[in-house]
């Protein structure tokens, strides 16, 4: 009874700089495992823009490029267009993708770039110290919404998966969460499916992963999981929002 569990080869064993309880680490692990399972480490290039995960290249064992804040989908487009044989993925936070990088992700999806976007949504800007993001919840306190997000002033949080799913171009758009094992298992399947769609040259793929940020939420990891499950997941509902076959 039981099974073995070990670190993926595509993942380095370098300790990460992420805060205790930050689930970036869980997502890194899954991306590493998927790349191992698909055997594509030698043909993969990762693109990490600015955010807590800008140092992602330290934690993987394959080629990587840094992009400016919000521009990873464009960098990935450049790579994929001149080297369509490479697997290219971006690893972006919500401040990066849903704010400064909105045009880039929408147009990469709309052109149907055969790249994969791993999109980490923790409803806040992490690296810069906890500012409000487009995904910050109504009433959620951050350093730039000290009295809670005022939706009458800055609008409602942005649901990226739903937004991108409205585009006509075929794509694989899914949202999962990484806050508990039962969600993490589904998240892993979605990430693998996204990479497989890319390998088949089928469509653009994006997996939004609801994640926790104990440090900037000002909660323990345990309470962060609770808050994420009771608040975030009700607003950011998991599910496969768009499948290329639907076209």
């Amino acid at each position: 009874m039981g099974k073995a569990f070990k670190k993926a080869e595509a993942l380095s064993d370098r300790p990460t700089h992420y805060c205790p309880g930050c689930t970036h680490g869980v997502i890194h692990r899954m991306v590493g495992e998927v790349i191992d399972e698909l055997g594509i480490r030698g043909k993969t290039v990762g693109v990490a823009p600015v955010g807590c995960s800008v140092l992602a290249h330290e934690y993987f064992e394959f080629d990587f490029m840094e992009a400016a804040h919000g521009r990873a989908p464009a960098v990935a487009t450049g790579i994929k267009r001149v080297r369509p044989d490479l697997n290219v993925f971006t690893y972006q936070g919500d401040g990066d993708l849903a704010s400064i990088g909105t045009a880039e992700i929408i147009h990469a999806a709309n052109r149907g770039e055969k790249i994969t976007a791993v999109f980490v949504n923790n409803a806040i800007y992490g690296m810069t110290g906890g500012q409000m993001a487009p995904t910050t919840m109504p009433g959620q306190r951050t350093t730039t919404s000290p009295f809670g997000r005022n939706v009458h002033d800055v609008g409602m949080p942005m649901r990226v998966s739903e937004l991108l799913s409205a585009l006509e171009t075929p794509a694989y758009i899914a949202r999962e969460a990484v806050i508990k094992p039962k969600y993490i298992m589904k998240a892993k399947r979605a990430i693998k499916k996204a990479f497989q769609y890319q390998m088949e040259g089928k469509c653009f793929s994006l997996v939004e992963l609801v994640s926790i940020c104990p440090t900037n939420w000002g909660m323990t990891p345990q309470n962060s999981v609770k808050w994420a499950e009771e608040i975030l997941l009700l607003y950011y509902k998991p599910g496969e929002y768009k499948l290329p076959e639907e076209m």
Partner: protein
Amino acid sequence: MKFRHFIDIDKCKGCGLCVIVCPKKNLKLSEELNKKGYYSALQKNPENCLFCTSCCIMCPDVAITITESAEEETE
């Protein structure tokens, strides 16, 4: 089939997520600090471990591994 559950104490940041998700409530945070100043996770009672990998899956630092060794399970 013999499994061995292992927590790399120096990689653990004491976040406690594994403690929450263990179905047997078999994990806790130690009283001693690790090298980085965290109270790292450890097993209460190794016999109770089901090797179900819930903790491994949840751990953001991939600090928990389960290795398989060939020799028979001793009673």
